[in-house]
Amino acid sequence: MTLLLEAKESLAMALSALRTNKLRSILTLLGIAVGVFSIIAVMTAMGVLVNSIQGGMSWLGAHTFQVQKYPMFNSGTASEEAKLRNRRDITYEQAERLKEHVTLAKAVGVFCFVDFGKVVVSPRGEKTNPNVFLAGRDIDGFLANNWTIADGRLYTQEEVESAKRVAVLGMDVVKKLFPKTDPIGQTIRIDGREYDVIGVVSRRGGMLGGSGDYHVTIPITTFFSVYGKDHRLGIKVQSLTPETYEDCIEQVRGILRTVRHVPPGEEDDFYIWSNDSLIQQFNDLTKYVRLGIFLVSAVALIAAGVGIMNIMLVSVTERTREIGIRKAIGARKSNILTQFILEAIVLSEFGGIIGIILGIVAGNLAAVFFEIPPVIPFDWAAIGFTICSIIGIIFGVYPAWKASNLDPIESLRYE
């Protein structure tokens, strides 16, 4: 008897057994489906997020990177904290030196911001929530961000040099404070200081669920005069072309090391946020989340496997007579063994497929939510499917072995 023939026969039988006991089969499948679902859903969601970063859809924008004193996420250990605390700030002068020397960048923008959100007050006394992102930027800061002005104008170099109290608003701030009136020419107040609104930045959408348009930008010099120079300073660099992106990162790294007098052989005393490093950090950060989900799913799958074993044992008992008939007409032990193991595998894989499909759908809800392209994690689907098959084998072997060792005479008499 060829294996293919046997597999085909067993598959047909397994499907007919599933059809006969619909409710029972569905309940058994459910356990497997849930276990696989959680793995696939989480891995799909992670894939969507990583993909969105890779696709340059993060706030970094296409072939853009950012230099800051701190990494985006830190490990939180005491030694790491101490090391980061002792780092020297990146200064405006260092950024200026970088601008002079860099050749592979299309734009080098400097920006400065405060850690927490600000309240912005309109002339009529209306207030925003205290979560407006206030930053000081130079003019190149707009170029490096690929920001365009939707309304009004950007501040001039003269206004930057003379630290004018002017502001460019994000769309959501406009929507909140000036829902009906033209914001240009109005005066807003932040921390008790007045700024003239001269422009509005085009909508750029959110990243990871946050609003990207809840911001106010003022000239960087104005920011220094109001909040002092010791605030977090960042440099945003856009490379000339996508091809020169890596080279540009290395060039900026080299210039900054020179400017900041980092001895050769020592690690950078600043951090470059590129899409690659973002993915790296994202993966590091979510490592334990994934591990946790994996363990929980493993427990769920083992529980589901026990369920399969239970239902297979019931099935063997119920079908004792059938086994007797098959043996009487010439089925060998191995035929019966294969039949029942395949049945357990089919049951398990059926649940697995349901889990995989639902998991991919659920994981891609993240994509819909963040308005980024969906992902189908073929690798994880294959892994999930394999795991199901293995569970089917492991938990199907004992019932199948039991079935194959039934005595044909006893089985034929079984009522």
Binding site: M1, E6, S16, I325, I329, G330
Partner: protein
């Protein structure tokens, strides 16, 4: 006519160990020879050992001692897989309770021995269809057992028994679950099959069923009580190449 022995049982003893010192002697030295194209009835009251004898002849069980040759091959010491192969190729079972797979249609039920015999799909379907036509069920091949009458179910079972062209047809009370009219039809079918050259062994406790056979072997207390050949007016026709 070929007079070679299909079945040769020599001093078959079967003892069941019921645990402890207790033993049941189901067969206590049974010797029978059955030739090709014989139509034998094995009779005996319940507890006589006839079921045990049938199980041994059907290679479902092995004797405790004694020699069993099937087509001159010693099967008394075969292992499970070898016995399964003999059952598949050489023995066609017909049971009192039909023993069809309830979820499968007639065609698939008849195909089953061919599946275990490793016959390819197209060949299998053709042969199963032919076997069903042979027992007069050519128009019922896609009916499931619960859509068939008792007599039709037994015909499916007979088709299944015949599909691998076995050396013997082993029928255990084949009319036990049928009304007398249907039972007679089934017995006529057996006679027809016998005329076509099949070797038939019928196990029954009913005298009028046993009378269809040409030889009656009576079992009592695990031993052969009598073995008589009945002269029938219609001798078996020529061997049809089996």
């Amino acid at each position: 006519m070929n007079n070679s022995e299909v079945i040769n049982l020599q001093q078959i003893i079967k003892t069941y160990d019921m645990g402890g010192a207790e033993e049941v002697h189901a067969l206590r030295g049974v010797s029978i020879q059955i030739r090709k194209n014989e139509y034998v009835a094995i009779m005996g009251p319940s507890g006589s050992g006839k079921s045990t004898l049938m199980n041994i002849i059907g290679c479902l069980d092995t004797p405790t001692s004694g020699l069993y040759e099937f087509n001159s091959v010693n099967v008394s010491e075969m292992n499970d897989n070898q016995l399964a192969k003999v059952r598949n190729k050489e023995i066609g079972f017909v049971f009192q309770t039909f023993n069809l797979l309830a979820r499968s249609d007639a065609l698939h039920n008849v195909e089953l021995p061919l599946i275990y015999g490793g016959v390819t799909s197209a060949d299998r379907k053709r042969r199963a269809r032919e076997a069903l036509e042979h027992v007069g069920l050519g128009d019922r091949i896609h009916h499931k057992p619960n859509e068939l009458s008792g007599g039709q179910r037994q015909r499916v079972a007979i088709a299944r028994a015949l599909v691998n062209q076995p050396s013997i047809l082993l029928a255990d009370e084949p009319t036990g679950n049928l009304d007398s009219k249907t039972g007679d039809e089934i017995m006529q079918l057996f006679e027809e099959l016998h005329r076509q050259g099949n070797t038939i062994i019928l196990v029954t406790h009913e005298e009028y069923i046993a009378e269809h056979a040409h030889r009656i072997v009576r079992i009592r207390d695990g031993m052969i009580e009598s073995d008589q050949t009945i002269n029938k007016r219609t001798p078996a026709l020529a061997d049809q190449g089996r």
